[in-house]
Amino acid sequence: MTSPLVSIRGLEKRFDLSGSLLEQITFEGGRFRRKQEAVHAINGVDLEVQKGEALCVVGESGCGKSTVARTVMGLLSPSAGEIHYDGQRIDNLERKDALPYRRKMQMIFQNPYASLNPRMTIQQTLEEPIRFHHPDWSQIQVRDKIHEVMHSVGIDQDWGNRFGHEFSGGQRQRIAIARALAVDPEFIVADEPISALDVSIQAQVLNLLMDAQESRGLTYLFITHDLAVVEHFGTRVAVMYLGRVCELADTKTLFSAPRHPYTQALLSAIPKLEDDRPNHIRLKGEVPTPVNLPSGCVFHGRCPYANERCRQEVPQLITTDGGTQVACHAVEEGRL
């Protein structure tokens, strides 16, 4: 295997909930105590994104998938761990040193209604990043670049002096994609880029992302909760639960032979057109809050196969015969 384009190593992210020092002090059992609480959004994630692939990260709300995306893009700084791009550590760079990576790494957001600046025209939205990263370009070069990206995402040249709110969700998402493409990135993090869109529009945007991948040789880190999209779009899939990766595999392998009990439940829950009657694997309870993480395997509270070891010991990712990496004691012990 060649060296990965992006590698995430031992990533952890905690959000402090307890506020300032004064707010942390509580009066309990007759004396003052300092109480600190944190949301453990990511608890040790290792992922590598290979050049040219689309690595999908799936999971339910609160599993930390968006936090991974935002940490990779430098919108959040990791509590522990490192992010490397093309062999270079990027999570601790000064803003100035990070600029070249800002051009190479771009992001597409979930909500096209919030990701365009409402006071900027489409022209301004697309022009600003180009001028910022290529201050030496002439007016004509900038204009040609804008025309090129507008054309490649299928938006009309005439839209330039209109504002974002004049467009539908799908059109706005196209504009947001055009903005990301305007600086010629190599790597795009897409955080739930189609979940706010209507079904018929989702297909358009997915196609657009796939076309862009092909024509520009893009690499994607694709965050989504929709497994059907993953099956269609992803090269590899990482399933996350409560801030940990519980299974990582090729898309085909994962969908044909899911190993982790959570992945199995997730797959069986997708409403399919074919069956008349749903036949879901039922999980006990709901996702616990990431404030007080369960001990051992984060999934043990809902897992039908959990035993004493699962309650005590955190499972590590192990590679199985099928090439799937899975973090589960039951799989390791051959119980599953």
């Binding site: 059109q171 209507d198 297909a203 997915l206 497994l227 057109l273 749903p278 879901h280 999980l283």
Partner: protein, 332 residues
């Protein structure tokens, strides 16, 4: 006689610069114990249709014409007082956001008891017993405890269960569920949908399920109707439509699903997007996006034609049926 029959319903919104037609000529029926799906993209009018049944459309919307017959009585012509006797009692609603139904400052028990006492003349104790029974039915763990909890103490999935319990309180004939699982995670969504389906079967309650998710519709409902720009463009048995959709829009909607495409290949896509209510094109509203569109489609809205058990509003389908008929005649 059908339990609920909607005939030629027109709903308009009075806005500046005239009225916008949100629903045009909506007709469908719902039998006792039947499960009906309303499918469409945002802005298609599916929620407006659901809300207009109980005359709950918010200002500036109003019912401009048509009838909504519930057990033979026209809900559209009823006074607010008469309607209140039906709302929550004979016809219950489940919303996408549980907090639309739940009052954050009252306990679950208080809210459920109040809802019962508004319609039934029984003691508080009896009402509480009913509430507890419904909470057990929706399989909430430790239901007695839940009665004294506040909505914010429950998780999202649990809240939606409480909502279903509230909907079931007074043994309604119909439950209208507007995107009941859209805000939930897939695993929770699957559980809630299972629950709703089983309860409706057990209690023989008719379900009207509004959703954009074709997968859910195909699993839960027996009949479905597809809406586009405020019109029903196709309606019939769910299986028949899912397996062999007639209208080009329904076909496109199904084929655009990622699970219908080959992995790694481009998906089927319908060009463009649904027109806003402000500028619905003349004729068939789908014609600017339709690859079969002809001059005829731009002139007038097509009438419904029957294909199998499905009613479709499309000239192309009508022509195909006509052709088939002629061929059969020629053969015989």
């Amino acid at each position: 006689m059908a339990l609920l029959e909607v005939k030629n319903l027109d709903v308009r919104f009075a806005v500046r610069g005239g009225d916008l037609t949100a629903l045009r000529g909506i007709s469908f029926s719902l039998d006792k114990g039947e499960r009906l799906g309303l499918v469409g993209e945002s802005g298609a009018g599916k929620s407006v249709a659901a809300f207009s049944i109980l005359n709950l459309i918010a200002q500036p919307g109003y019912i401009a014409g048509g009838q909504i017959l519930f057990e033979g009585k026209d809900l559209a012509a009823m006074s607010e007082r008469e309607l209140r006797k039906i709302r929550g009692n004979r016809i219950a609603m489940i919303f996408q956001d549980p907090m639309m139904t739940l009052n954050p400052v009252l306990t679950i028990g208080t809210q459920m008891v109040e809802a019962i006492l508004a319609h039934r003349n029984i003691s508080k104790k009896e009402a509480r017993a009913i509430a507890l029974d419904r909470l057990q039915k929706v399989q909430i763990p430790s239901p007695e405890k839940r009665l004294d909890q506040y909505p914010h103490e429950l998780s999202g999935g649990m809240r939606q269960r409480v909502i279903i319990a509230i909907a079931l309180l007074l043994d309604p004939e119909i439950i209208i569920a507007d995107e009941p699982t859209t805000a939930l995670d897939v695993t929770i969504q699957a559980e809630i949908m299972d629950l709703l389906l089983n309860l409706c079967e057990q209690e023989n309650v008719a379900l009207m399920l509004i959703t954009h998710d074709l997968g859910v519709v195909s699993q839960v409902t027996q009949r479905m109707l597809v809406m586009y720009s405020g019109r029903i463009i196709e309606q019939g048995p769910t299986r028949e439509i899912i397996n062999d959709a007639q209208h080009p829009y329904t076909q496109g909607l199904i084929n655009a699903l990622p699970q219908m495409g080959e992995p790694g290949e481009r998906l089927f896509q319908i060009p463009g997007s649904m027109p806003s209510l402000k500028n619905v094109p003349k004729g068939c509203p789908f014609h600017p996006r339709c690859k079969f569109a002809t001059e005829q489609c731009k002139q007038a809205m097509p009438e419904y034609v029957r294909s199998g058990n499905v009613n479709v509003a499309c000239y192309e389908v009508a022509n195909l049926i006509e052709q088939e008929k002629r061929m059969q005649e020629a053969e015989s």
